[in-house]
């Protein structure tokens, strides 16, 4: 299996059209052409570090406060999950545990592993790296579930003094963290995963 870069051609990152060396703009889709996306790794690390930076307050500050008969009570992500589990909603507790706790941390770890393995030429199989990359690309957006829950509860539930929800600082930190890690995963040039690999 030969790759465009093996011949010195440039494959468009957007549409796949093949160009000979030196071409600047894709004749099919008009994207700027690059053998490999410029500064892919720097952008990845910049977004990833920012994402980690937001992930910490996202887990320490309350995500959501509920106000029942004037009594206000805030819950962090983990406390919210425990509340669901205690009231017997194990399915919902499981979904939120995955989407808001496991996936964000796992994703950060996976992106960092991918980046380090590419930059240091670790002997991870490219097949495994590719599966990890696909996973991170697919899963990123689903972490927004909790942010939408907070928005829905705050915006929908206005029952006077009886019941109201208020978003906590954790919610916006969490949303920003999800966005930054999505951008981090998008910054990765997947073609790098297969560079320097002889045909398996």
């Amino acid at each position: 299996m030969m790759r465009a870069s093996d011949i010195g051609w440039i494959g468009c990152h957007n549409c796949g059209a093949v160009h000979s060396r030196g071409a600047q703009v894709c004749r099919t889709c008009g994207s700027a052409l690059h053998q490999r996306l410029p500064n892919s790794m720097q952008k990845l690390w910049a977004w990833l570090v920012t994402g980690i930076f937001f992930l910490i307050p996202a887990n320490l500050y309350p995500l959501l406060s509920n106000e029942i008969f004037g009594h206000e009570e805030g819950h962090t992500i983990l406390e919210g999950i425990l509340l669901f589990a205690q009231s017997g909603d194990y399915l919902v507790a499981g979904v939120i545990f995955l989407a808001s706790f496991v996936i964000p941390f796992f994703k950060v770890a996976v992106i960092a592993t991918l980046a380090l393995s590419i930059q240091h030429g670790w002997q991870l199989s490219p097949r495994l790296r590719h599966v990890l990359y696909e996973f991170v690309e697919f899963i990123g957006r689903w972490s927004m579930i909790d942010v939408f829950v907070v928005a829905l509860l705050t915006g929908l539930v206005h029952l006077g003094a009886i019941l109201a929800f208020l978003p906590g600082a954790g919610a916006i930190c969490f949303a920003l963290s999800v966005i930054c890690t999505m951008l981090s995963a998008q910054a990765l040039d997947a073609k790098l995963i297969w560079d320097g690999v002889t045909n398996e």
């Binding site: 030969m2 494959g11 059209a17 579930i145 915006g155 929908l156 560079d195 320097g196």
Partner: protein, 227 residues
């Protein structure tokens, strides 16, 4: 940084020679997988079939029967459903005689003060704005292609439509609604209103719309009809 692969392998490799011959005859007969750079012969395949990269299984070509009409119809449907969804109430909450009926726009508006504004903007963008911009962009491109005369900005607009795809989160919002309902289930009685059901249908239509677009087919059409 890892170095780029050696760009000057020996010139007498038969596979390399074959690719060079193909490329010289017609550069558009060859495609490089956008995800992993592996070279493939671009062949027209039957609607419903899928051509995947043999190295990384990225979907290269996935033509649909009647793709332009189908995409146009589904994109228009999703836009109409979105307008309908925004104009009807979404959920009703009742507790101790107090009842509250809220639409999605009402919800976004209710959030739009102080720093909650950031949450309002996120919901407005990911749930309403991006899906609609994407539908509008597809309508613009596909409409032009149907007239056999792609609009001047077809390339930029289609590129934008594709770049927006990961940021359209209607289906994520639907799961979020489910979780939110469980959360208020013990605190208030919840009634589903028109907009909720319209939203469910819209998520389905948007998924069908995304599946009806074959990137390679659209790019090829844009290239051929612009020449």
């Amino acid at each position: 940084m890892t170095g780029l692969p050696d760009l000057t392998p020996p010139g007498d490799d038969p596979e390399r020679k074959a690719w060079l011959r193909l490329f010289e005859a017609d550069p558009d007969a060859v495609i490089a997988c956008p995800s992993c750079d592996t070279l493939h012969l671009a062949e027209t395949i039957a609607p419903g079939q899928v051509a995947r990269c043999k190295r990384c299984h990225f979907t290269l070509i996935a033509p649909r029967r009647d793709t332009l009409n189908r995409t146009l119809a589904l994109a228009l449907t999703s836009a109409i459903l979105m307008v309908a969804m925004l104009s009807f109430p979404f959920l009703t909450l009742t507790r101790q005689g107090l009842s509250n009926e809220v639409s999605i726009l009402g919800m976004i508006g209710g959030l739009a003060h102080g720093w909650y504004m950031l949450l309002a903007i996120l919901v407005a963008m990911f749930v309403v704005g991006v899906p609609m911009l994407r539908a509008a962009a597809l309508i613009y491109v596909v409409w032009g292609l149907r007239q056999n005369r792609p609009p001047r900005a077809a390339r930029e607009v289609f590129r934008l439509a594709e770049a927006m795809a990961p940021w359209a989160m209607t289906e994520v919002f639907l799961i979020g609604t489910g979780v939110a309902l469980v959360k208020v289930a013990g605190l208030a009685r919840v009634g589903f209103e028109e907009a909720f059901w319209i939203f469910c249908v819209m998520v389905l239509v948007l998924a069908l719309k995304n599946a009806s677009v074959c990137r390679w087919t659209i790019w090829t059409m844009i290239r051929e009809r612009q020449e």
